[in-house]
Symmetry: C2
Subunit: 213 residues, 2 copies
């Protein structure tokens, strides 16, 4: 029962923090040196009190009437969100979306470095995309264990999504970024982040149909 009892930060807060970060960066480009939650609120249409509450999680406090020091706020947010240190990851499944992610250099700017990829396609194994080597899936377990990499990006077809997940967990992965529309099952303690582009598409199509009918 020792140690500090730090509240787990709510997911909605975590999702809003990158919005604040990107807006505050723009304000700095415009020459601002201090920024208040009221100013951020005007830019992005979220209650100033909500913003102040969210920012209290990252252990930064604004000064009355002056607000937050803008450089400090950016640094604290970037550190807190994990964008300033590099997290290494392996990608599983170099299909259309997997290949696209290997080519997206933006991920590294936000702290994710894909150091290798796995696939079974003999035309891909042994090649590289964007400097990232592609290995045969049979090598995955050993490479994961030797490298200490603990994040896996899942972009395989849905019919093998669970099987590949099980192998990732067995090899020692602690977090899985799941881009498949399949709901994978994992043991407790393994972090799963679902980013199904196609589920987002479905939401958008449905809302669009409502507005134009």
């Amino acid at each position: 029962m020792a140690g500090k009892n730090i509240d787990k930060i709510p997911e909605p807060t975590l999702r809003r923090l990158p919005w604040y970060l990107s807006n505050v960066k723009l304000m700095r480009e415009r020459g601002e040196t201090y920024v208040s939650s009221t100013q951020i609120s005007k830019e992005i249409n979220i209650d100033a009190s909500q913003i102040a509450k969210d920012l209290s999680y990252v252990a930064i406090t604004g000064r009355t009437r002056v607000g937050y020091n803008i450089d400090l706020l950016i640094q604290v947010l970037e550190d807190f969100l994990g964008f300033t240190c590099i997290h290494r990851a392996y990608l599983f499944g170099v299909g259309s979306l997997g290949g696209a992610l290997l080519r997206d250099t933006g991920l590294k700017q936000f702290g994710l470095e894909i150091v290798g990829a796995f696939d079974v396609n003999p035309e891909l194994v042994g090649t590289e995309i964007n400097g990232i080597p592609i290995f045969h899936t049979d090598e995955a377990e050993q490479r994961v264990k030797e490298s200490g990499v603990n994040i896996g990006v899942l972009t395989v077809p849905i019919n093998i999504a669970q099987e590949v997940t099980d192998r990732m967990v067995e090899a020692g992965m602690k977090a899985i970024w799941n881009f498949t529309p399949f709901r994978i099952r994992v043991p407790e303690k393994i972090v799963v982040q679902n980013t199904s582009l196609y589920a987002h598409l479905a939401v958008m199509f449905n809302r669009l149909n409502e507005t134009i009918k």
Copy 2:
């Protein structure tokens, strides 16, 4: 006050439907002809009653003890989610992520066809990626109006995200799929779907830190 008063489908339900779809497709591959909410529940760890309730929105009813006809369920879900008809879209900003999305052939399978892209980079304008032509941003308004395309994919740098959004709306776009970490402002009635990969990364890094510290 005329017309049917259909309840708006809740977003959590909309996000779960693609999970059911992908699981039910796998069951069909395994040779099943009927599937019950209880069976789906076992596969994906969601309450059977929740699944039955979600499926009631797509106007399909299962038969007691037998469940849903699997072919019919798949067809109804695909239609409902908008995956069976093609929605045309323009992409704005052919950077690293934008280029990656142009190369992702998976989007078309789920109903989104990107018919063209816009950028200001003279090295890109006039070329194509994956058969999709890239035009100068100055042509956007006219091309959008002439084509009747009403979905825009936003992958520009954050410092011009709002400006490009305003131009998209003015040209007649009804839905914007926003991949930037910037919270764009739009008039009422315009649909915005936010898919910030980097915000998802932040959530994953944070959860991972909690489990391994």
